[in-house]
């Protein structure tokens, strides 16, 4: 078994009132280490010269008195008391039975920690005692303040202005759209044309033969499409039949006989 490390870490600090007096309440301390430091200071020697045994006794007496007065003790103070009691008994034991680390080492560690805490507590006091702004020294009550006003100098040039105007005018000028009159053969005229031509013969005729012979290429394409749709329409009405040998082969049409009669 190794000796327990000193219980130097305790419960969170509470908002405790500042005090220099040794109250029986433990509210005056920032934890057990702080209380130990106060007790050690009472020995009025360098913290590295204090008698740990005396310090332990003082602490334990203090805790006992608090207990006798039925004061609620924070657990961390009790943990420290238990540890100190252990330390004391270890220090009183014969050397041969010493644990590792030795009680002297634990005591030294406690002293070093007290020394450090003491140093910081003193430093804090000296720091707070300095000439502080707003308490000891004061800044100017109503400084005028320094301001930098930024002024923008705008630049442009005549060409940009004229060009911009031109662009506005161009962008917003009314526009006229010309839609070219495209040569088309409507479905109606194709129907009329195909059915009248079918009336002439009972023979198979190619769709191509229905196209106007001297038409422009554009009109021819329109006529081809319209004539094809007209052929489909006549077939659907039962007045003609269509025939094609294969894909892209010439498409042929002829009048149905009874349809002619009808």
């Amino acid at each position: 078994m190794t000796a327990p490390e000193p219980p130097f870490m305790f419960a969170p600090e509470a908002g405790r009132p500042e005090t220099d007096a040794l109250y029986l309440e433990l509210d005056g301390w920032e934890g057990p280490l702080d209380l130990l430091l106060d007790l050690a200071r009472r020995q009025k020697v360098d913290l590295l010269q204090i008698s740990i045994l005396a310090l332990v006794d003082q602490y334990l007496i203090y805790i006992e008195r608090a207990g006798a007065l039925k004061l609620e003790l924070a657990a961390d103070y009790l943990v420290m008391a238990a540890w100190l009691a252990y330390l004391k008994s270890a220090m009183l034991l014969p050397k041969a039975e010493q644990e590792d680390p030795s009680p002297e080492e634990l005591a030294l560690r406690l002293q070093i920690r007290l020394q450090r805490l003491g140093a910081m507590r003193e430093a804090a006091g000296r720091l707070m005692g300095r000439d502080r702004i707003g308490r000891d020294v004061f800044l100017r009550g109503a400084p005028e303040g320094l301001r930098t006003d930024r002024k923008t100098l705008w630049r442009s040039d005549l060409f940009s202005v004229i060009q911009a105007y031109g662009q506005v005018k161009a962008r917003t000028a009314p526009r006229i759209y010309h839609v070219a009159n495209r040569p088309v053969m409507t479905l109606d005229s194709a129907l009329e044309r195909v059915s009248s031509m079918l009336g002439v013969t009972l023979e198979w005729m190619e769709i191509r033969d229905f196209l106007p012979p001297h038409a422009s290429p554009a009109l021819k394409r329109s006529a081809l499409a319209s004539s094809f749709v007209a052929a489909l329409e006549l077939t659907k009405r039962g007045r003609a039949e269509l025939e094609q040998d294969g894909a892209f082969a010439p498409l042929r049409i002829r009048r149905l006989k009874d349809a002619a009669a009808a």
Binding site: W154, V161, I162
Partner: protein
């Protein structure tokens, strides 16, 4: 330090000095006397006189205004408090268009500008032109709503090197110069790009701001 013995200020003088320095508002002789523990006004007045003379040539002056005293920056150094930084910036495309419309159509209301441009004009655009002092409000149009109408200023003619607005090229001249041709996006982008290389564009770069350092 080679200060003369008489340079050492009297206690009361130092007290008045510190009190006025820390005060948040100017203080009367009576207020000072009371603050300093019920002194006689005469003593305070004397200390104020000494201080006033001491600071007469410094960067800060002790001055009396309406019976109350305070420290303030010497008048000849007032420019240090408010420093002006000039920054040259090129007019945005939108602002240039609005400026052009005002120049060609003035006086013109905002609604009319918008109808000519075919887009809404943000409030800042007119502000910029007025800040540049090229455009000013020129009354109101006597129509319902009485909108403000805008016109160009003499500074506008000045900056753009025009003797008068009649010097602006007319529509026919614009057309002849090809400036009325529809401009497509690519073309506009190209023109914008060219703009970057104009000599005065260099000034556009915001200057390094050193006043930020003052804050911390």
């Amino acid at each position: 330090m080679s200060e003369e013995p008489n340079d050492e200020p009297a206690t009361l003088e130092r007290a008045v000095e510190a009190t006025l320095f820390a005060a948040e508002a100017p203080m009367s002789v009576e207020a000072l006397a009371a603050h300093l523990g019920g002194l006689a006004s005469g003593e305070v007045r004397e200390a104020l006189g000494t201080l006033e003379a001491r600071y007469a040539k410094r960067g800060i002056h002790l001055v009396e205004r309406g019976g109350r005293w305070h420290f303030e920056t010497a008048p000849d150094l007032a420019h240090l408090l408010r420093r002006e930084k000039e920054q040259v910036r090129r007019l945005s495309r939108a602002a240039t268009e609005v400026l052009a419309i005002i120049a060609y159509h003035e006086p013109v209301s905002r609604a009319e500008i918008e109808s000519i441009r075919g887009v809404q004009t943000s409030a800042g655009t007119l502000d910029v032109l007025m800040e540049a002092d090229w455009v000013k409000p020129a009354g109101r149009r006597e129509v319902p709503g009485r909108p403000v109408i805008y016109a160009t200023t003499p500074d506008f003619l000045d900056h753009f090197g025009l003797a008068s607005r009649r010097d602006l090229p007319g529509i026919d001249e614009l057309r002849a110069a090809g400036l009325l041709d529809p401009v497509d996006e690519a073309m506009e982008a190209a023109l914008d790009g060219m703009g970057r290389f104009e000599p005065d564009e260099e000034d556009d770069t915001p200057e390094p701001e050193d006043d930020e350092n003052l804050a911390d």
